[in-house]
Symmetry: C2
Subunit: 329 residues, 2 copies
């Protein structure tokens, strides 16, 4: 058990709302197809916002919520899939966008695609518990505009843009907040099922053999769903065994909002009740790494998740990775 507290949460939603009807016209899909297949009604798209600005807006809200100031931050940890630029890490630009003191915080990024926030919280919890950093801003910020694949409407309609941020501190004496257990497993047999093969050394933007199609998001949805469904049950059994909780002792399950079908598995096959689930997929879509902290932040600010309640963060991501983290909020 780590005496670590999510002291504040915040989020930033780009102003521009994309409704299904517009997307269905653009992608040549039948009217009503998107909501029927994915459960999503609308999603946001960043237009003028930058990744760091969205993160900073979410960060300011999280700091206000925590009653803390940018000057209190000892570290800023980015937990997103896409950086703002390759060098330096995006967290450095968030320090600047926040107006946080130069040299006052350590900035670095953690990447595990859709599980970046969960892995980031695992990492930050241990650093805070050990006293390396006292107050950490852990954020995810995603914008996908140029990466959406019009040849793959199943994924293109899923993705939404957002940023979400948390302020992580040591739990003050007498409070119940804690991080109880985290567990992540990567199955690289599924590494090609969710991919963006450009953007790195394999297909560098300046390599003349790199094509625009390589710089688009690709997901073999049915294959991911099949592998994730096969792995999730045994993974959660092992997680709860070691955690020592029963599934029905969890007050809120905050899943990565991968898709409507993925969320349904949590109640249909994985042992949770519908009333345990935090769901924002219909209005936010799948916001990649920002999905999980956005769902948590909205659930806290909306009054669902209360102090002292038991929360399970859970999801799968490209890799294929599967992860879970149990905490008392």
């Amino acid at each position: 058990m780590l005496p670590v507290k999510i002291a504040g949460l915040g989020y930033c939603l780009p102003d521009h709302v994309v409704q299904n009807a517009a997307l269905e016209r653009e992608l040549g899909l039948a009217e009503g197809w998107i909501e029927r297949v994915t459960g999503i009604r609308e999603r946001r798209r960043a237009t003028q916002e930058t990744s760091a600005e969205m993160a900073a807006e979410a960060g300011r809200m999280a700091l206000t919520h925590a009653g803390l100031d940018v000057g209190d931050l000892d570290a800023i940890v980015g937990a997103s899939t896409g950086p703002q630029q390759l060098i330096p890490c995006t967290a450095a630009f968030v320090q600047r966008a926040l107006g946080a003191p130069d040299g006052g915080s350590a900035c670095f990024d953690v990447d595990a695609t859709c599980l970046s926030f969960l892995v980031g919280l695992q990492v930050v919890s241990h650093l805070v518990a050990a006293g390396v950093y006292g107050t950490v801003l852990l954020y995810s910020s995603e914008m996908s505009r140029w990466s959406l694949n019009p040849q793959e409407p199943e994924s293109a309609v899923l993705i939404g843009d957002a940023a979400a941020a948390t302020v992580i501190t040591r739990t003050p004496p007498g409070e119940a907040s804690a991080v109880w257990r985290s567990q992540v497993a990567t199955h690289s047999s599924g590494a090609d099922l969710t991919a963006f093969i450009g953007g790195g050394t394999r297909h560098h933007p300046n390599d003349p053999t790199t094509t625009p199609a390589m710089n688009l998001f690709h997901m073999d949805g049915p294959a991911v769903f099949k592998q994730a469904t096969r792995l999730a049950g045994p993974f959660l059994d092992s997680f709860f065994d070691r955690l020592g909780w029963q599934r029905d002792e969890v007050d809120w399950v905050v899943p990565h909002q991968a898709s409507g079908m993925a969320l349904k598995q949590l109640t249909a096959r994985l042992g949770f009740r519908p009333d345990q689930l935090v769901v924002n997929l219909p209005t936010r879509g799948n916001c990649i790494a920002a999905s999980l902290p956005l769902a948590l932040a909205e659930a806290v600010h909306g009054g669902q998740v209360q102090r002292g309640q038991r929360v399970l963060l859970v999801g799968t991501g490209a890799g294929l990775s599967i992860g879970a983290l149990a905490l008392t909020y």
Copy 2:
């Protein structure tokens, strides 16, 4: 003090050696300019190797050195600047390239440009000390071929390609290995001094306004040197104060091999003796994130750094970040 041990180290050097003479002809530089200005005689360049294959080769050497097997790995943590591809994280491809068991390890990447390994070791040390993961492969793998900027010979001649890997475990009872302290500070006032502005959401490869020049490495060497030199003294004073060691009690200083001038500061202004320094810059160049673990791995395998000795990892990186980590090897 964390009871954490670097149980094994390995590295991978691409076969292709680039001598100064060839670079001087290519870039229109005077004969002898490169060695005189940078202290570098030659560097390696990856040609056919992939980032993950180089990491896996370094990883196999590190596992052999540690007397462990791929089946022992509980986590694989990438600590490089450039991913192999944007999604999924490169560590997942290293799991696959190693033939490590599917689902047997958690894979994620940590990025702090040239300080990625130092930050990765900070993170991994705490996860291992807390028992989250028992055996972790922490690696850096860099290849820069398409990113070198021919308009900027000062940086283009500096960079070398390499991978280096470490196996991190808990220290067995009775052994002296430990991680004593780590400290990182980011000064985002210098975020634009070392940059690669493409490769992310700011200048996406498919955005028609993105130019090839945006996908090249840029460094304002004199400005970086000035800022780093100004910050390093007070940073190290604060680090050693909290660590409780004197500078001359360090057996080996393993610096990020940023440049000949940067290395000279360690003895000229920062209080270390020349015989404390581990230097591989003349034959390896600046291997970005792989520079620091490569220098350490070569020093261990070359018989310089011995078990029980006190080692300081130190460097600056894009951000501008400055970091130090003290350990007993």
